[in-house]
C-alpha cells in the first residue's frame, strides 16, 4: 500500500512538474535570434563565401580536412576580403560549452558577456592579429557597414571587444540610442570598462553581480531605465577620462 501511494505521489509530482516548463515568449525568442545574428560584410563576399564553403563542407557526410585557409590563400586576399573572411568564419574550433544558452525574457536583460558569433568555430590567432594590426581600418569598415545595415552584428561586437576599441564608444552609443533595442551594445560598454579596469565600475554593485565571485558567463542584470542610464553615464565618464 505504501509503495502504491509513493507511486501515485510520484506520478502526480511528475505531472505537476512537467507543467512547470514555460515556453519563452515570441518576443524573447526573436530577441535571442537577433542577439546571435552576425553582420555579413559585402566586400568580396561571393569570392570569400565560396572559399569558406570549400573549407567547411565536403559532400554530404564529411567536413574538409581543415577549417583554415592556407597561408598562400590568406595572403592573396585583399584587406577588405580578409575583413569579410574574418567576419563570416572562425578558423579555430570552439570548445563544447556554449557560454550563453537562451533564457526566458531575454529582451529584458543586460548580459555580462556576448553570445558566441560562430558557434562551433572561433577566431584564430592569425585572425585576431589581423584585427589588432589593422585596428583603425577594421573599425572604419565596421562603422561603414553598421551605418549601412543599421545594426551591429555579434561578430562586430566580438571584434570591438577583442580590439579593446574604446574609441568606438560614442559611435556605438549613437547606434544604441536610435531604438534602444540592442542591449548587447550595453554589454560592450560593460566589457570595455571591465577590461580597462575603470575604478568606479569595478567598485559598483552591478560589477559585483556581473563579474564577481558568484557570476558565470550567463549572468545578467535587469534591463530597466535606471540600469540603462547608469551604464551610459559610467561609460561616458570612462570615455572622457580614458587615456591610451
Amino acid at each position: 500500500m505504501k509503495i502504491l501511494l509513493t507511486g501515485l505521489l510520484l506520478s502526480v509530482s511528475l505531472f505537476a512538474n512537467a507543467q512547470d516548463y514555460k515556453e519563452p515568449s515570441k518576443e524573447s525568442q526573436e530577441y535571442g535570434v537577433y542577439r546571435s545574428k552576425v553582420t555579413i560584410p559585402p566586400y568580396g563576399l561571393p569570392k570569400v563565401k565560396a572559399m569558406v564553403s570549400g573549407l567547411e563542407l565536403e559532400g554530404d557526410n564529411d567536413y574538409n580536412e581543415t577549417a583554415a585557409l592556407t597561408a598562400k590563400a590568406w595572403n592573396a586576399l585583399s584587406f577588405r576580403e580578409k575583413f569579410t573572411y574574418c567576419m563570416i568564419h572562425g578558423e579555430n574550433f570552439s570548445q563544447n560549452c556554449d557560454a550563453s544558452p537562451p533564457v526566458q525574457d531575454e529582451q529584458k536583460k543586460v548580459f555580462g558577456q556576448l553570445p558566441s558569433a560562430f558557434g562551433e568555430f572561433s577566431w584564430s590567432d592569425r585572425q585576431l592579429k589581423f584585427f589588432n594590426d589593422n585596428q583603425d581600418s577594421v573599425l572604419a569598415l565596421i562603422r561603414e557597414s553598421v551605418n549601412r545595415s543599421k545594426r551591429v552584428g555579434v561578430n562586430y561586437k566580438e571584434a570591438i571587444v577583442a580590439m579593446n576599441a574604446v574609441e568606438m564608444i560614442p559611435f556605438l552609443e549613437e547606434v544604441y540610442l536610435k531604438d534602444k533595442k540592442d542591449h548587447d551594445i550595453l554589454t560592450i560598454f560593460l566589457l570595455l570598462m571591465k577590461e580597462n579596469k575603470y575604478a568606479p565600475f569595478l567598485s559598483s554593485v552591478s560589477y559585483k553581480k556581473l563579474y564577481g565571485n558568484d557570476s558565470d558567463y550567463g549572468t545578467y542584470i535587469d534591463f530597466n531605465s535606471a540600469n540603462e542610464a547608469l551604464i551610459l553615464q559610467r561609460v561616458n565618464d570612462f570615455y572622457k577620462n580614458y587615456k591610451k
Binding site: 577549417a67 570548445q95 556554449d98
Partner: protein, 270 residues
C-alpha cells in the same frame, strides 16, 4: 520504487572489469523524467527508454591504445594537426591550436605524454574518433537522453545529490580557480585524473560532471535543420563555476565533429 530496487540489484551484480574493458552499469527499461523546467534547450519531459548498459567510467588511454594498436587507426588530431590544447595563463574560453597534440600528447608534445596516465580518460580525440572506437569494440555512444538518465541516477535535481553545487568537490575533477590565468590543482589534478578518482553517483557512474566532457549521439532540440554539429555532456577538468557552469545533469554542449580538445572524451553503451 521498484525501478530503484531493480537498479540496485543490477549494481550488486558482477561488475567485472579488465584494463581493456570498462565495467558496465545496467539501467533498466522505464519511464524517466529528463530536462529542467528552467531550461529552454533541455525542457522537462517524460521519456521511455529500453534497458541499456553504460560504462561506469570514461574510456581510458589504455583502452584507446588497444584500439589503435589493433587497427592502426589515425585520429583526427593526428591527421589534421588542429587539436586545441590548454595551458594556464589563457583568458576564459581561449585555447591554443597545437599541431603536435593528439591523444598521446593531449596538450601538445611540450606538455608531456600519457606514459604515466594510462588510467586517465583518453582526450584530444574527436567525435569521429570516439565512434570509430565504439565500432571496433562493439559498443556505441550513449544518446543524449541515456546519458542524462544514467547521470541523474533517479534524481530530479540539477545534480544527482540535489541543487547545492558546493557538494561537487566529492564527485568531480573541475577547475576551482576564479579564472584560468593561474594553474589550479586544488582538487589534486590540473588536467585529467585517473578515471574513478572521485565518488560515483548512486548508480555507480564515476566522473559524470567532471574530468572530461562526454560525447553523446543524436540531435538536440536546438540543432538547426541539417546541422552536422555533435554534442557532449557532463563537465571537464577545465570547467569552473565562473565560466560556462555546465557541469550538471541539464546542459548540453555543442562541438564540431572533427574538433579535438584536451577536455573531451567519452563513455560507452552496449
Amino acid at each position: 520504487m521498484i525501478r530503484y530496487l531493480l537498479i540496485i540489484a543490477s549494481l550488486l551484480g558482477s561488475m567485472h572489469t579488465t584494463a581493456q574493458q570498462p565495467a558496465f552499469v545496467t539501467i533498466p527499461a522505464a519511464r524517466y523524467v529528463v530536462g529542467d523546467s528552467n531550461s529552454i534547450n533541455n525542457p522537462i519531459r517524460t521519456i521511455v527508454l529500453d534497458s541499456f548498459q553504460i560504462s561506469a567510467t570514461e574510456i581510458t588511454n589504455e583502452q584507446f591504445a588497444a584500439f589503435v594498436q589493433a587497427t592502426g587507426y589515425i585520429t583526427d588530431a593526428e591527421r589534421r594537426h588542429d587539436a586545441m590544447v590548454f595551458e594556464p595563463g589563457l583568458p576564459e574560453y581561449k585555447w591554443i591550436k597545437d599541431s603536435t597534440a593528439s591523444w598521446r600528447f593531449p596538450n601538445g608534445r611540450s606538455r608531456g605524454d600519457i606514459t604515466e596516465k594510462m588510467n586517465h580518460p583518453v582526450t584530444t580525440i574527436s567525435y569521429r574518433d570516439a565512434v570509430a572506437f565504439c565500432e571496433w569494440a562493439g559498443y556505441r555512444l550513449p544518446t543524449l537522453d541515456e546519458w542524462e538518465v544514467a547521470a541523474r541516477a533517479g534524481s530530479r535535481t540539477r545534480y544527482f545529490w540535489g541543487n547545492n553545487r558546493d557538494e561537487i568537490k566529492r564527485y568531480a575533477n573541475l577547475w576551482y580557480g576564479r579564472d584560468h590565468l593561474t594553474a589550479d590543482s586544488s582538487d589534486g589534478f590540473m588536467y585529467t585524473a585517473p578515471v574513478g578518482s572521485f565518488a560515483p553517483n548512486p548508480w555507480g557512474l564515476y566522473d559524470v560532471y567532471g574530468n572530461v566532457f562526454e560525447f553523446c549521439q543524436g540531435h538536440a532540440k536546438f540543432d538547426k535543420p541539417g546541422s552536422k554539429v555533435v554534442h557532449a555532456r557532463g563537465g571537464s577538468w577545465w570547467c569552473s563555476k565562473n565560466s560556462c557552469n555546465y557541469f550538471n545533469s541539464v546542459d548540453i554542449g555543442t562541438v564540431h565533429p572533427h574538433a579535438s580538445f584536451s577536455n573531451q572524451g567519452f563513455r560507452v553503451v552496449r
